[in-house]
């Protein structure tokens, strides 16, 4: 290790370069590879066509999540194409000796929920998956990012990919977060400031009090959405919160191996004099509960604000108008009081126990609005179990909600959980793109608290109005 001041990102990246190619990418070694049913079948087909095999099957983990139903998982999957894709994952994993958590397995769930939950993701690792929200795992001080299927084939066959090293950005948020301001609001705020392309070409380190005081669940929510401002990934220096989360998990190091790992993990932080290509500083007290009004995650605002005019939004006028037109909104309108048809809580962004606790805190003692359809989808069976054990399920049932089974669900609407055309959804997921949650669906991204407030009032509502003062 050189004595030159280095960032956390440099330390992890540089220790994984197998070869530097002049005027080309780095040959980059991958410690953990997650695969799911949608982006892996063609990679396995590629292996077969080339006569290759999987080099280190113990470093790849398969789970089914994108294309799975969230009800009646004990029954055969009805859609033949989906069933075929799930079968392919099972067959390919079996053939090459890869761990497979298929539908019905108690470890099954969304890849970016189950990886950390089982201690597979650890500080200092490189983690990839054919899914852009792999950035989630950066919460542990790992370099984690999404890859394409050609790269999935590279990792399977050689445990490496070819990547140019991204530039480095640091985003610091300091100060005290206000009432009902959650990690989701922090990241939606950052994206609204930087725009949906503001961090393209960069890898982001999140720093400052706000992240230091955040739970692992919160850090995962933040890192998860790094891709929504174009960043390849986000990373947060591991600390006692990280170590406490990992310790004792199924795949975490044990005994002497734990001590060795811990000693190394403690060195994983940005040196004082290290430099970044770009830095941003934000004040925690400027952040409100957020909601998006457009068709990319950069089009977000504080829930009490008015929809900006295109000149303020820093986007091309015609694209901006197309976006508002799709949503059925106008410049300078307030979002408060807008009718909500669907509420979705779940996804790799907000499908962890802390998110359901937050949702329940507002639901408690209230009823679901009659016209709202709510899909409450845990990120994994472990989360589902926690929801039951903590009494959250009883609370949900009392309020007129139902709990579904784990999976990506309405976040990308690959299964039957599709928002109908023209309908409005407040969603705790990560993308409000046109048609993302179903053809013609209109998505407003928000935190679990904002989602809960919408679910009980049936309109876009500031959650601060529903939280008693003593709960602050």
């Amino acid at each position: 290790m050189s004595s030159k001041p280095a960032t956390l990102f440099d330390k992890v990246w540089d220790s994984h370069v197998v070869r530097k190619i002049e005027d080309g990418p780095d040959v980059f070694f991958i410690d953990r590879h997650f695969i799911h049913e949608v982006t892996s079948p063609v990679a396995f087909l590629g292996l077969e066509q080339r006569g290759l095999t999987v080099m280190f099957p113990g470093k790849t983990f398969a789970t089914a999540d994108h294309n799975t139903p969230t009800i009646n998982q004990h029954l055969p999957v009805q859609d033949p194409l989906s069933a075929n894709q799930l079968k392919a994952l099972e067959t390919n994993s079996g053939k090459y000796g890869i761990s497979h958590w298929g539908l019905g397995n108690p470890k099954n769930g969304i890849v970016h929920v189950v990886g950390p939950e089982n201690g597979i993701t650890q500080p200092g690792m490189t983690v990839v998956c054919g899914d852009s929200h792999t950035s989630t795992h950066g919460a542990f001080g790992a370099i984690a990012f999404g890859i394409g299927t050609s790269e999935v084939e590279m990792v399977l066959s050689s445990q490496c990919i070819m990547q140019p090293k991204p530039k480095k950005m640091r985003i610091s948020v300091n100060g005290r977060l206000g009432k009902a301001v959650t990690p989701k609001d922090v990241v939606l705020y950052i994206i609204s400031k930087l725009t949906a392309a503001g961090a393209t070409g960069y890898f982001v380190e999140y720093a400052g009090d706000v992240f230091e005081q955040m739970s692992m669940e919160g850090r995962m929510t933040v890192c998860n959405m790094s891709i929504e401002m174009g960043a390849r990934g986000g990373i947060i220096a591991p600390d006692e919160t990280t170590f406490a989360y990992i310790k004792g998990k199924d795949k975490a190091p044990k005994g002497e191996a734990w001590d060795t790992a811990l000693a190394y993990w403690k060195t994983l932080k940005t040196d004082d004099d290290a430099s970044f290509d770009r830095e941003y500083h934000f004040d925690a007290s400027d952040i409100e509960p957020m909601i998006t009004f457009g068709t990319n995650p950069g089009m977000g605002m504080g829930i009490s604000n008015r929809i900006p005019v295109s000149e303020e939004a820093g986007s091309g006028k015609s694209s901006y108008e197309k976006s508002l037109d799709y949503m059925g909104f106008r410049e300078e309108e307030s979002m408060l009081g807008k009718k909500v048809d669907y509420v979705f809580i779940g996804s790799c962004t907000n499908g962890r126990i802390e998110d359901f606790r937050a949702f329940a805190s507002i639901i408690k003692g209230r009823k679901k609005a009659d016209h709202v359809t709510a899909w409450i989808v845990p990120g994994s069976h472990v989360v589902e179990q926690q929801i039951k054990e903590e009494g959250i399920l009883d609370l949900l049932l009392d309020a007129g909600f139902q709990l579904r089974q784990p999976g990506c669900s309405a976040c990308l609407a690959m299964n039957d959980d599709k928002i109908p055309a023209g309908k409005y959804a407040v969603s705790t997921s990560n993308r409000n793109f046109e048609g993302r949650q179903g053809p013609g669906a209109r998505t407003m991204l928000a935190s679990p608290l904002v989602a809960a407030a919408a679910a009980v009032t049936g309109v876009v509502t500031d959650p601060r109005e529903l939280i008693a003062e003593e709960k602050v």
């Binding site: 005027d23 953990r32 949906a196 197309k322 793109f433 046109e434």
Partner: protein, 198 residues
């Protein structure tokens, strides 16, 4: 999967002056259920291209017979969002070999090169000039010269150079790919892996 080598491409172009064209627009998730790489071009820009009853939307550029060619010209931040390589497969399968924009999302750019599509990043001013030239006459051709790393509007002679690293350029020009490269250095990878903490 093998792709056609890329050297010099002279073609008319299809203009799509929309910003933030994300991969959910390029190919919606419900069309990602295949286990083989076949037929994705049919669903390229599905929801912009077709009505719910599968009739073509007349005002969408791919349904306008005036605009054809192997070059797709998009607005700023093309290919954002999901890492689905299916987006690049759909573009390739439809018949495009090159996408031009003033800004590309990272994963899409990587995926494109890996499947044999050249992403050409130009200045916003030059991008506007391309849109103007196509608007003036959809038959106006664009020339992409990979060895020289230049893009030229043939009707006006205006030209700009573009960046690509030497390794990837060599791959595209010769039809090489990363998987073969990595296979050839497996001994090094094996010794590297032996020292890994994980």
């Amino acid at each position: 999967m093998a792709y056609d080598k890329f050297t010099v491409l002279k073609s008319t172009a299809v203009p799509m002056p929309i910003e933030n064209v994300d991969t959910d627009q390029i190919i919606p998730a419900r069309f990602l259920k295949a286990t083989e790489r076949k037929g994705f071009g049919d669903n390229l820009f599905r929801d912009w291209r077709y009505n719910n009853d599968n009739t073509p939307k007349k005002d969408f550029v791919l349904n306008n017979p005036l605009y054809t060619g192997k070059i797709l010209v998009g607005g700023k931040n093309f290919g954002s969002g999901s890492s689905r390589e299916h987006a690049a497969w759909a573009i390739y399968d439809y018949g495009f070999r090159c996408v031009v924009s003033s800004f590309f999302a990272d994963i899409f750019k990587n995926n494109s090169i890996n499947v044999g599509i050249l992403p050409v990043q130009v200045s916003e001013i030059f991008l506007d000039k391309i849109f103007t030239a196509i608007e003036a006459n959809p038959k106006n051709e664009i020339e992409i010269n990979l060895p020289e790393q230049t893009i030229t509007i043939l009707s006006t002679g205006e030209s700009e150079s573009f960046d690509i690293n030497g390794y990837k350029k060599n791959n595209l020009m010769n039809g090489y790919d990363d998987i073969d490269y990595l296979q050839a250095m497996k001994a090094d990878i094996r010794s590297f892996a032996a020292t890994s903490l994980y």
